[in-house]
Symmetry: C2
Subunit: 221 residues, 2 copies
């Protein structure tokens, strides 16, 4: 039996990835793993739960890792500072980096994979992340595979198939799969409607436009 785990935040990239891995038919069971790390946009998590209800997902685990926040320092977590507005730029967005986030998430996903006997962990890093986040680069994915290959009795492969895709190209995959992006939350602010102004919203809207999708999500007027 071939099983995979998809690190699934509830945002548009991992929502697309989870759907694509299921649609590929490569795995008998595809499980989803969502982290509640106290992010201000925990609304993502509610969207993640709702979306999974309509998908052919094996197990969906939501793991509360908020206790880890005492080790980390970032404006993305509830105890941190203000979310910067405007486009992602290295200077402003560096403050939204959760230190070592991908290594932590992949470590935990790999632990679950070993428990389940799953041999693959997927995560949705994409080309737009490269410039800002060192742990969204090819060399990071290669290095982490050298660890997950040997850290346990069973080998786990980490795959990041969107590494060379822009967010617009990810939206194109979603369009091809007829995904409902009203089920995916992106905004870094956790208000009733998406703000449309933060870096995450702006990137999303540009991606939708690139893919010719009219974003079904509700935005603040």
């Amino acid at each position: 039996m071939k099983q995979a785990i998809v690190v699934y935040s509830g945002g548009m990239d991992s929502f697309t990835l989870l759907n694509e891995v299921i649609a590929s038919g490569e795995f008998d069971h595809v499980h989803a793993l969502t982290f509640d790390y106290g992010q201000k946009h925990s609304k993502e998590i509610m969207f993640a739960m709702r979306a999974v209800g309509g998908m052919n997902v094996g197990q969906h685990k939501i793991v509360d890792v908020t206790s880890i926040n005492q080790l980390l320092d970032s404006s993305l977590t509830a105890t941190g500072g203000e979310i910067p507005e405007g486009h992602y730029e290295e200077d402003t967005m560096k403050s939204t980096v959760v230190p070592n986030r991908n290594m932590i998430m992949i470590s935990l996903a790999t632990g679950w994979a070993v428990s389940l006997g799953a041999d693959t962990v997927f995560f949705g890093a994409h080309a737009g992340d490269h410039a800002i986040y060192p742990d969204c680069r090819e060399e990071f994915v290669e290095a982490i595979n050298e660890v997950t290959k040997i850290a346990n009795y069973q080998s786990v492969e980490v795959r990041a198939p969107y590494l060379d895709f822009t967010k617009g190209e990810i939206a194109l995959i979603g369009r091809k799969l007829h995904l409902d992006y009203g089920l995916a939350w992106t905004c870094y602010n956790g208000r009733a409607y998406a703000c449309g102004k933060c870096g995450a919203c702006q990137e999303r809207l540009e991606a939708m436009e690139f893919a010719g999708i009219s974003d079904p999500l509700e935005y603040e007027k």
Copy 2:
């Protein structure tokens, strides 16, 4: 300012390591990181807190990661099965393996290191662990360094200086440093006194004997 973090369980190996790193004088501040991952021997944690009180430790963080247990499956965590008695043997002790434990702990320690601006993470894997735990081997430490070097804006080095030391040799270091091993808990059972029978106790007692130390810890009659 040069800072280090020592992954510190409260057991004799990491107790020795923490003391040795402080005594080395290589770092301006040495911080200790203890994980509460729901282990049955959480008594270790109480011992860790008490021991740190008498040491020149910068910050000591105890991070509750018990929510992670829903992902893992092991007799070491409170929801798992019985602790096997007798000497460590691959078959019986495989069941005490927490999947991907060292990668998870090092990921979190590296996150904290980045937050603090510390450049080194120490952990106390030793030669006796090699046969059983893949994540206590030289190749694991090498591979994980390739990740921690590039996963963040700042590089973090992971050091496991006891990798080629037996537990007896670690006790010899402790003897040289005049450590009080009554401050370090080892037993896998969390009762009032150490059981003296589990694999962990047996290894400790053999190490003490090798180093010519009379173990000051109290054992069940």
